[in-house]
Each structure stands twice: as structure tokens, then as C-alpha cells.
Amino acid sequence: MAIRAWVPSAEPFAQLQREMNRLFDSVFGKHFASGRLRSAYVYPATNVRETADAYIVTCEVPGLAMDDLEVYVARDQLTLSGVREDGIPQEGATLHRRERDSGRFSRAINLPGPVQGDATEAALTHGVLTVRIPKAEEAKPKRVQVEVQQ
């Protein structure tokens, strides 16, 4: 089962641009459309993978330290929240270019099955957060050794 990102209806143009980019890539190939700006319409941009015993969630959170981030697992939902600081001085700075976003964020990701929330591990490396959430025992695939009688 795939997880679908919730698309805020206030941002139809961002979604349209995304769709156009994807169409462009599929027709002309990635190389033609190289040099894309990463414009995540939901923050943080997230990948979710499923292995036999865990869900692995990776998020791009450049500039954030572990202290700036709150990671919660409740039932089968992972919640990430925090505050992004832009690092630009409030006074005495003239802005020439502004592409990074800042401010408070919160994102919830529904996982497709039951998990062991208290065994969740999170690591932050070079601005990429990796959260590993083990599946609940009953959700793991079972392998039973069957004795074959001769």
C-alpha cells in the first residue's frame, strides 16, 4: 500500500508545476530537465520505505539540529515538527535572494500498519533525518519451519 501525500488545496499551482515537471521528465528524460530546484510543496520532503520488519522514513531537513526537531510516534502515525531558522541577521542585512523557507512546521505521516513506537530510532546526518520504526510483532511476516515426515 502506498502512502499518498496530502496536497493542500491552496497550492494548486505548486502541484501543477510538479505535474508539469514530471510530464517533462517522462517525455524528455531527466537529463534534459537537469538542474531542478527542489521545491517541496510539503515540508519536509519525505521518503518512506518498508522492509520485512520496519518502516524507514527519511526526510530532508537541512539546517536543523536534533534539538530543533520533535519526532513522535503515536499508534501508527509519525509526527515531525519543529522550527526552521533562516540564519539571516534581523538587522543590517540586505537580501538579494530568498529561496529557503523558514518558520514552524508540522507533518504527520500515516504508516500502513501497526508499529512498536517505543522502539523507534532516529538519526540526523548532514541535514537528513532517518527514522526507523519497527513493525509490531503481529505485522511482521511469519516464517514457520515445517518438518517433513519421510
Binding site: 521545491s39 518512506v48 524507514i56 537541512p62 540564519g87 537580501l95 505521516i109 548532514h126 537528513v128
Partner: protein
């Protein structure tokens, strides 16, 4: 067992030529009385995967993510891809490119280009007649 062909990446890599496919790092640029500062987001890039070069007035930044391609398991949601970052900036003249300070923390590159003395604001003494 076949081995992958060894390629001398360091030698073959010409930094002024962009990689075939790359991402533009989202960048903020601001100016203070002392310097021009660039903040570029390059998530996944470690200091040893980063190259910053200045040739004449062209600044080129390139970063290769240290994080291994996450191909374990089945994909349920994919909102970003892992790949090199590359971007070139035309710098205004009169910046002291010899003394650029670069630091990389939590996937954000900070570049500080000091202004040459001529560009810094200065007070003009007015003499009383």
C-alpha cells in the same frame, strides 16, 4: 567475479562542468556592511563531498551526497531523490575572493565573501569652515 572498472574520479572530474543531472541548491544571499553571505541547502552532503571553486568572478558550488542510495525495502512514498547539487553564481566585482570563508553544517553551506576595502561604507569627515 567481475570487478567494476576503476575510474579516477578525482582526475576526471572537472568542477566547472555540471554533472549530467543535478539539483539546484535553494540559496539565500544577503549582504552586510562587511560581506556577501550565501546560504545554500545541500542535504546529505558531508564536508568531504563538497567543492567550492572561484574562477575569475564565477563561483561554483558542487556537493555529492554522502548518504547511500536508500534502496532497502519497498518504496511507499518518494518525494525526493538523492543526487549531486550544482550551482554557479556570477559574483559582482570587488569582492575579496582570496578570503572566502566556507563552512558546512547540517547540510547547509555558508559562504562568506568579504568586501574589498573600496566597497565598505566609510564616513567622510566634514571640516568646519
Amino acid at each position: 567475479m567481475t570487478k567494476a572498472i576503476d575510474v579516477d574520479v578525482e582526475r576526471d572530474r572537472d568542477l566547472t562542468v555540471p554533472p549530467e543531472s543535478y539539483f539546484l541548491p535553494a540559496t539565500d544571499v544577503y549582504e552586510t556592511e562587511e560581506a556577501l553571505v550565501l546560504l545554500a541547502e545541500m542535504p546529505g552532503v558531508a564536508p568531504d563531498g563538497l567543492d567550492v571553486t572561484v574562477e575569475d568572478t564565477v563561483l561554483v558550488i558542487r556537493g555529492d551526497p554522502a548518504t547511500a542510495a536508500d534502496d532497502e525495502g519497498d518504496v511507499l512514498l518518494k518525494e525526493f531523490e538523492v543526487g549531486p547539487f550544482y550551482r554557479a553564481f556570477q559574483l559582482p566585482a570587488d569582492y575579496d575572493t582570496e578570503n572566502i570563508e566556507a563552512s558546512l553544517g547540517q547540510g547547509v553551506l555558508t559562504l562568506r565573501l568579504p568586501k574589498s576595502e573600496r566597497l565598505k561604507p566609510r564616513r567622510i569627515e566634514v571640516k568646519a569652515e
